[in-house]
Symmetry: C2
Subunit: 380 residues, 2 copies
């Protein structure tokens, strides 16, 4: 059995005086201090980062981490665009299934704010297809196309999308590690400027810096730490180009990963009390909740408007962390943070946003416009 | 038990009319054709590439591969500088240990020749430490420093180094997939221009394009294909900066990975008939053979001069593929090619360079100046 026994995160935000490496160092020393483990007790590190190569000519970060750890252990860097964190976790989980008696760290980190918006945008669209890059399509544009298809096909509205942002900003106001910690009114969201129709400023996750770490073990009764079981973790892929997809009102990779994960965990959708889903844009949360099987296809707009997944409303809550939308989106760290949020909730360490009743949580991490999806289910 | 049941490689070299993706496509379709497998029989892909993000703003290649495969399976990209291939193999091996009844591809690919030497050099030193980058130290410079320490400490000579190049170019002349397939005389090597003293042109591996793929399975008796067992695969790391190392006459990560691999495989050094070692520079092969435990520390120069590891000379041969030196060094593909060469030898498909007696082979893949090392042992 693989368990998560610790989580540490920096606040996500604009860390102008920190480097990628100092953020990693903060979360690495933070998780060791918090769990009272010595670095000699770490057998391997799985490291998630998307952009350091492109933005700062910084590769082989595995060896740079090795210098920090100083104990010659195996370190792996995984890159799957914005799904890097979820995929790194998946591989760590598999490593622990293959190797008994090990304790590993999964670290995700990204430093995005030292660069011009043009540089960051160009770097991010490295995760799109060549044709999309050549067409000048950045991710707001790609998700805007998905949103247009969705709104038209299911008579959903921009206001429906705004409710997703409203909810996640409210959740962000309860999370002292979130990038944005202020509530935002529905009219502010609806009156914000268009980025790519129908997506406005408040429909988009921000560019953030941040780092976080999970501690995983398959050792039995070794550490006296709050523990959460990893019940399933599955990865699926799809065509990178939207033009090659059969449908634009769904993310097929999410559907496949979710089917496999629920089957492996022997759970059904109604067993889940918390989902941290990949809301890089508001439309993405609606698609996610449908494709994960929580909502019927096409009902997402109406459901969003009902705010049933707002904390305190019902038994199924979405993105208590604030999601990517308000929590922030340092891309390599995002997938780790989603799992960390579920860990905090399942171990009753989520402070102001603690759910009263929670036994199972699901994390959903997406790369690009749906070329990669990871679904992981945790339980106590 | 995990077995390798197929290998395909493009010729390594300067592929001016091919893209990274067309090279991947060549080797992917090549291995399916060769093994007569349908793509539906592939359960996952582990993909190794170092530089596409830095050189051509090309990330999320996992989803780009997914488009090629078209079957939504999990695909993972691993980056550990020039050790990316070995590390990808390690993770595939662990994935198969964790998941019964699976067949996976490990693909490595790199496209390096579309860029100016300045661009390629700058991209490659992304694998060095920040201080080394700032000092303008590229990899020939870093390995030249290791060579200077070694030559001075053990009274080895530039001629000793030249023998390594001589041997590997001879082996390259027997390999129709090698970048360089001509024998080179000792005087040509010794008279070539200095790149970074004491390393000359012929002491350095070239910049190459290429892609290759291994097919791995843990299914029993399912495929009627030549099979080789994976006996051990181990990864170790070390400080990235040479300044932080205790010794400069050894690559500590190699020593640690080798100790673990031999222990796991229950073999000793004398059981190995073929080692494919990471000879990015001639000095690197000498260090490797010492640090892997084949030769006593400091004896490497003398041993190189004896040419005992030349094919046809003795029972222990090194780099029959031509190594990185003559075989070529498309960085993300190198670690896969080393394993592929051992697979070919163990299954008696190595044509003109086939070893007569071989039961066990070892592959040794290094990232940067020794920040990462992977040692894998295969047997029949």
């Amino acid at each position: 059995m693989v368990e998560i026994i610790g989580y540490h995160t920096t606040r996500f935000g604009e860390w102008w005086e920190e480097s990628l490496f100092s953020l990693i160092n903060q979360t690495y020393t933070g998780i060791l201090k918090q769990t009272q483990l010595d670095k000699k007790q770490i057998d391997a590190v799985f490291f998630s980062n998307m952009l350091a190569g492109v933005l700062e000519n910084n590769l082989h970060l595995t060896a740079k981490l090795a210098e920090l750890l100083g104990n010659n252990i195996p370190i792996f860097r995984i890159e799957s665009a914005c799904a890097s964190g979820g995929v790194a976790f998946f591989l760590a989980f598999n490593y622990l299934k293959a190797n008994p008696n090990k304790t590993v760290l999964v670290i995700g980190a990204e430093k995005m704010t030292d660069f011009s918006p043009e540089q960051t945008t160009t770097a991010l669209i490295s995760a799109a297809s060549g044709e999309e890059q050549e067409a000048g399509l950045s991710f707001p544009g790609l998700y805007a196309m998905l949103a247009q298809v969705y709104l038209q096909k299911y008579q959903a509205t921009e206001e429906d999308l705004a409710y997703v942002a409203y909810k996640n900003h409210y959740h962000g106001s309860l999370n002292d590690k979130a990038h944005f910690q202020k509530k935002v009114s529905l009219s502010n969201i609806l009156n914000s400027a268009y980025i790519a129709y129908p997506l406005k400023v408040f429909d988009c996750a921000p560019i953030s810096d941040g780092a976080c770490a999970l501690l995983l073990t398959n050792k039995k009764n070794t550490y006296q730490l709050p523990a959460v079981r990893v019940l399933a973790s599955e990865v699926a892929t799809d065509t990178i180009s939207l033009t090659k997809r059969q449908r634009l009102d769904e993310i097929k990779a999410t559907k496949i990963a979710a089917e496999k994960a629920f089957r492996a965990a022997l759970l059904s959708r109604k067993d889940i009390q918390l989902a941290e889903v990949h809301d890089c844009f508001t439309i993405a949360e609606i698609l996610a909740l449908e494709d994960l099987g929580f909502w019927p296809k096409g009902q997402g707009g109406k459901k969003a408007r009902e705010l049933s997944t707002l904390i305190g409303r019902g038994e199924f809550v979405v993105n208590t962390s604030g999601g990517l939308k308000a929590g922030g989106h340092p891309v390599g760290a995002t997938g780790i943070k989603q799992l960390g949020e579920i860990y905090l909730q399942l171990t009753h360490q989520a402070q102001k946003r603690q759910l009263k009743k929670i036994s199972y949580g699901l994390a959903h991490n997406v790369g690009g416009s749906g070329g990669t999806a990871v679904v992981t289910i945790l339980g106590v």
